[in-house]
Symmetry: C2
């Protein structure tokens, strides 16, 4: 069974179709020009390339901070993946100059890796806080943030940040 079959959103929507597709997005809405359309997909593919690397680096930074060291076992457990997979990915991270380590020893971030981790962490935090400020439950916000963070442009990040800030003021 395909994952999407679990999603079951269609049923939940049929009662208010007008809210879903206002005029500017309904049937008559034309397709964007091919080249622009292609650029959108290219952006997504581009994001995919670094997504996993960012997740690793971010996780390694978190482990270093909270546990004092970053071990493959922990990464494997937290990523829900086998140790062999971690080992292979770490090799790649090393070849990209993001991570350093001696064989059979725990992992460290290079300067480049730390920069990436810091950026990733910021982005993650902004998206997570935004979702919570919107009213999304903590559990869901965490899951969604994990997936969304790599696809949010700087423009949108700034807007999310502003929203979160204003929302906080409103509560106070």
């Amino acid at each position: 069974m395909l994952p999407y079959e679990h999603f079951g959103y269609i049923g939940a929507m049929t009662d208010s179709p007008n809210d879903v597709t206002p005029d500017r997005l309904c049937k008559a809405d034309a397709l964007p020009p091919s080249d622009q359309h292609a650029q959108q997909y290219a952006a997504v593919r581009n994001a995919h390339e670094t997504e996993l690397l960012e997740d690793y680096v971010e996780l390694i930074a978190d482990l270093l901070e909270h546990q004092g060291e970053a071990r493959s076992t922990d990464i494997a457990a937290r990523m829900g993946v086998s140790q062999a997979t971690v080992s292979k990915t770490v090799t790649r991270l090393k070849s990209l100059g993001l991570v350093s380590s001696k064989p059979y020893r725990s992992l460290f971030l290079t300067e480049k890796g730390e920069a990436m981790a810091a950026m990733s962490h910021q982005r993650h935090a902004i998206v997570l806080q935004f979702l919570r400020a919107l009213g999304v439950s903590d559990r869901t916000a965490r899951i969604d943030a994990e997936g969304m963070e790599h696809h949010v442009s700087q423009e949108t990040l700034e807007i999310m940040q502003r929203y979160t800030r204003e929302q906080g003021r409103r509560d106070a």
Copy 2:
């Protein structure tokens, strides 16, 4: 050069670090339990599996609607990939029962494919409208929506929808 190096978000943030990391997310913030953490990543991997399929199916539906037929050439141009890639992916879509076609002929969606396309389209529309309602520019909203749509849970979708609706009322 890694794609993330183009992003350059760190510089933009250093002036207001307090807005970025409030107490509950700052250094002291503990890691979630391993198994829950693993589930988050699993959810992302799961989304990745269907992402591309959904994009294809959604695009095929759009082409059928706006151009009357869905040809590999158009898909290749719009996705920004080679025709060979399209051909291979379409083979997979057929084996999954989402698309049907005769060799060297244009493509159709099965019932299952249409259901997926409809769901995908709805989700896409909700996210896009939400971003625009937030104040994101059209160009950016399109790009971000394309990447984000596959990672937004139903709970968040409903909240986005409500926000967009209320925002619309406020404007009126």
